[in-house]
Symmetry: C2
Subunit: 334 residues, 2 copies
């Protein structure tokens, strides 16, 4: 059993030494070819774009873009109105105010994220940054969650065009709060960043490294919850994703493409969830975790969805992982 | 958006007023009919039983039982050895010591839990209690998790015979710790039990009640994470499930059968996870939450698995629920 140093969560790890992709049962990613509102020339089928990276001279909501961000047509949260935090008897409620946007990663229907070129993935990252910076200006927002569902078992049940989603939230998610509090306590004791320390340890041991370049390290976390789980850390300390330097954008695009390609190739089209784990916006009166400025260290999480979650996980918050991360790293780098 | 009073978790709740079972996409429960090691007369196919409720005169590991508990043949944790909690560089690890048992709920292959008679379900509950009491005597154990996976999407991928599982753990699960800490803080402020207070509120409002009898209330929690989520609370305050009185066992069997039948009938064989949320064993030096004796209030959770979890939930710990609990309660009691 291994304890995750970032969250305090325990994971029961199988002592498997060898795994075969055929040990897992998942639906291989399939591309639907019905009418797609996210394809180039179908721009009129979505709400008006809020951001796009376009060729010079092209007009908004017309062809000529590389990445395009539009509001979700069936948003889970709505951008209008105030938060209205209030008591309802015993309970706390608030209005469903927030942003819910679709980041269309490519005008082409026939490419997944890992099949794009580095300069195209760089544009996706630039779109993430642009939306984060813009939404930080909305004082109701405390956190922006950026995530991606690839394949049906990862929750992408409607459209197979390669997209990410963004949710601007008026509260900081619990799992982020937990990571922040652990990182702050660590910093208070050691006067060093927990994430920087783990990064150095992974670079020294090299038992769980999946890919590396000048600015980024991708590795299988020591207490991975999911088989073939991957984390991507920037090597230089940085709490906020939006402060990524222009030079680092390409390095991130490269390592993301490399790791997702390895995952796809090793397992044969597995479903996965990708998310950005960023620090919350700095706001007054948003709870004591928000006083942290630099204790956090942004990172990406890739969670392949190739095993079923059972009552054990739901009832306990504990996980059982049939593939130790050392074995996963070896499989991904044969 | 609603905040769960027991955990502090936020849920984005759709404002749907009407739902149809056909809105959900799940694989209806299917009973396999290949050789089953849990059927009566196949007792020799499992490890030797650790507990059984049998007709007078029948012998262990032979026919003549109503409920039978056996060790899992492929356990995720092993009962032998010591915990060996230790540091591994940065990380905390411990040996995979614990119990992993199968509670076979019926000798018959053709019945799910909700199809059993009340006296049969009562025996299942008695088996839970007997195993809890026995494992409390093992000083390495801090928590016993009892759960059930019904249907493939709920993680029951191997055998369709009706079983529950038990895991004896050397650490208290995180989600239990969270509930304990919230309940203790509430008690410290109000000098009342949080769960007792919510129970009274639900009985007064009656907007989310699913079933009720003398000793138990089943309701759809205010901040349900899953559509048609249900909770069963004992009406009388009791922190430890093993202290259930013999008279309450039958009432629990009745309300469990009634709620699971309503769920099955309304949705047409949905997959679900059931779990017992109990307080940890009282142990010295097991962290400060373990000093709580009576702040907790045991309960059952039923989580239907009829929507896919996506990157949003994994990345945030937040949930999106398309069916408000008031609507779920109305659907279940048409």
């Amino acid at each position: 059993m291994r304890k995750d140093v970032f969250t305090g969560r325990w994971v029961i790890m199988a002592d498997t030494a060898v795994v075969r992709p055929s040990d897992f049962h998942f639906t291989r990613f399939v591309r639907e070819t019905t009418f797609c509102p996210f394809c180039e020339t179908n721009e009129a089928s979505t709400p008006a774009e809020v951001f796009a990276i376009r060729t010079r001279g092209s007009s908004a909501n017309r062809p000529g873009w590389s990445v395009r961000v539009v509001p979700n047509v069936a948003p889970r949260l709505r951008i209008e109105g105030d938060l209205g935090r209030r008591a309802e008897g015993f309970h706390d409620v608030m209005n469903g105010v927030g942003a819910h946007e679709i980041i269309v990663e490519t005008p082409r229907h026939d490419c997944s994220l890992h099949e794009l070129e580095v300069h195209e993935i760089s544009n996706v990252i630039r779109a993430y940054v642009a939306r984060l910076v813009d939404l930080e200006g909305d004082k109701r927002m405390r956190y922006v969650l950026i995530f991606k569902n690839h394949g049906e078992q990862a929750g992408a049940h409607t459209i197979s065009h390669s997209i990410s989603q963004l949710m601007g939230l008026a509260v900081t998610p619990r799992s982020v709060k937990t990571k922040l509090m652990v990182a702050r306590d660590y910093f208070a004791t050691k006067e060093r960043c927990l994430y920087c320390d783990v990064l150095q340890q992974e670079l020294k041991e090299r038992k769980r490294v999946i890919a590396e370049n000048e600015d980024f390290l991708a590795f299988a976390p020591f207490a991975s919850r999911f088989p073939f789980e991957m984390a991507v850390f920037p090597k230089a300390h940085n709490s906020a994703f939006s402060r990524i330097s222009p030079g680092q954008v390409e390095g991130l695009a490269r390592i993301l493409r490399d790791t997702l390609r390895k995952l796809d190739h090793t397992l044969g089209g597995p479903p996965y969830n990708l998310s950005l784990q960023d620090r919350p916006f700095l706001r007054p009166r948003a709870g004591y975790w928000n006083t942290i400025e630099d204790d956090f260290h942004w990172h990406l999480e890739v969670l392949p969805q190739i095993v079923r979650i059972s009552g054990f996980e739901w009832a306990s918050g504990f996980f059982y992982n049939p593939v130790p991360p050392e074995v996963a790293a070896r499989c991904l780098n044969p």
